[in-house]
Amino acid sequence: MGTVFDPLNTSVYFWQIITFLILLYLLYKYVYPPIQEQIQKRQSQIERAIDEAEKTRSEARELLAEYRRQIEEARGEARRILEESRKQGAAQRERIRTEAQQEGDRIIQRAREEITRERNTALREVRGEVAGMVVEATERVLGREVDRDEHERLISEALDSLEAEVAGGISRDESQRV
């Protein structure tokens, strides 16, 4: 059993100690530090990535809130503009209506004045005509010339009183119409 039970093999002791120490040295110097470094690097990378993702998410959330706020503001603005233009429209309509009314009133007034003036002119002409005709008729009936001025004055008075009666009738009619 000397070969299987081999507890004092000096060459094994010697080489094993040297080999194992060299192996330990090499692994401690060339293998473990880069692996440790790599693992730490990756860990910090992952941590950084997580931080970044969280930052991005919070930024996105802020942005979303900002957009929502802007949209809300725009909606408010639109409502306000709409309201204002509605108000303006109503005011304009009112103004136009008032102006049209006034214009109409003015036109009616003017027309009425025109009518009055025309009527007066016509009346004056008719009166002249009537006075002339009456004087002429009277001359023919009497067969002689009458004092034209005196006659015309009498006729004018008669016409005046007639006119007064007629005018009273017209103005009564007008007041009923308006």
């Binding site: 070969t3 000096t10 060459s11 192996l23 090499l26 473990y32 880069p34 692996i35």
Partner: protein
């Protein structure tokens, strides 16, 4: 003794066939060397020791050279080996003990490589040599004592060998305490390194021997025995692979535990 008629060999022949690997190792591939009166010849044992060390180093070194931010499969394996040492070997009793995990991880990978190399045909299972495992156990032993004394001082370290809760009287102090101290001293100075070495040695030797025994039975009982021997050998080889991993782990974890027990013995 009337053995089977086919047998062409004596039992002594059979025995030397089984033990062939161990009996011839010293003379195989030998380069005689000596350091004064001490024989330090290089032979098959030493060659395979070196092959194992070289393979161990290359496995780890290549892994450490090809490190990238996006790891490939090989890098993941090496990093996992490292992470296994860091998280499962180191820190058995206290976080400070984690600083020795590179040592025990080296032990683990080295022993595992030597164990697995021993499965190859015509190799020498280095860990089935008691001198090899004794040297490894001795390294751990020296490190354990050095750490115990360095961290606690010689007095504190020796005091930590005494278990707590002894009766606080003359009986406890002068009879039980020295007795327990003696037992603990024997355990720490002799049993721990011895069991560490013998456990690995015996397991690996038994695994190899079982395989050779079953294969040698073919020589002894004839070719028909192969029908039984070969399947059994396959099963035992698989089992030996499992034992290789298990024993490497046990050797490493016990080394770590012994180191940390010496460091933090007083606190526990």
């Amino acid at each position: 003794m009337n053995t089977v008629a086919l047998a062409q060999m004596t039992q002594d022949d059979l025995r030397s066939e089984i033990l062939y690997t161990w009996e011839t190792a010293r003379e195989t591939w030998a380069i005689p060397l000596s350091l004064g009166p001490v024989d330090i010849s290089i032979n098959k044992i030493i060659w395979f020791l070196w092959i194992g060390a070289a393979v161990t180093f290359l496995i780890m070194f290549v892994g450490a050279r090809i490190l990238k931010d996006r790891p490939g499969a090989y890098q993941v394996i090496v990093e996992d080996i490292y992470g296994f040492g860091r998280n499962h070997l180191g820190g058995q009793m206290a976080e400070e003990g984690r600083k020795w995990f590179p040592y025990t991880l080296t032990l683990f990978v080295f022993v595992l490589t030597l164990n697995v190399l021993g499965l190859l045909p015509n190799s020498y299972p280095v860990t089935s040599n008691l001198s090899v495992t004794l040297v490894l156990a001795l390294c751990t032993f020296l490190l354990v004592q050095q750490q115990g004394i360095a961290r606690n001082g010689l007095g504190g370290y020796l005091k930590s060998w005494l278990p707590g809760g002894l009766p606080d009287n003359a009986f406890g102090k002068f009879l039980i305490a020295p007795f327990l101290f003696l037992i603990e001293a024997m355990s720490r100075l002799f049993s721990q390194p011895a069991t560490l070495a013998v456990r690995l040695y015996a397991n690996m030797l038994a695994g190899s021997l079982l395989i050779y025994v079953f294969l040698s039975l073919i020589l002894y009982f004839g070719a028909a025995t192969a029908l039984v021997s070969v399947p059994v050998t396959v099963v035992f080889s698989a089992f030996k692979l499992f034992v290789s991993i298990l024993q490497a782990y046990i050797f490493a974890i016990l080394s770590q535990v012994y180191i940390e027990m010496a460091m933090f013995g007083e606190e526990h």
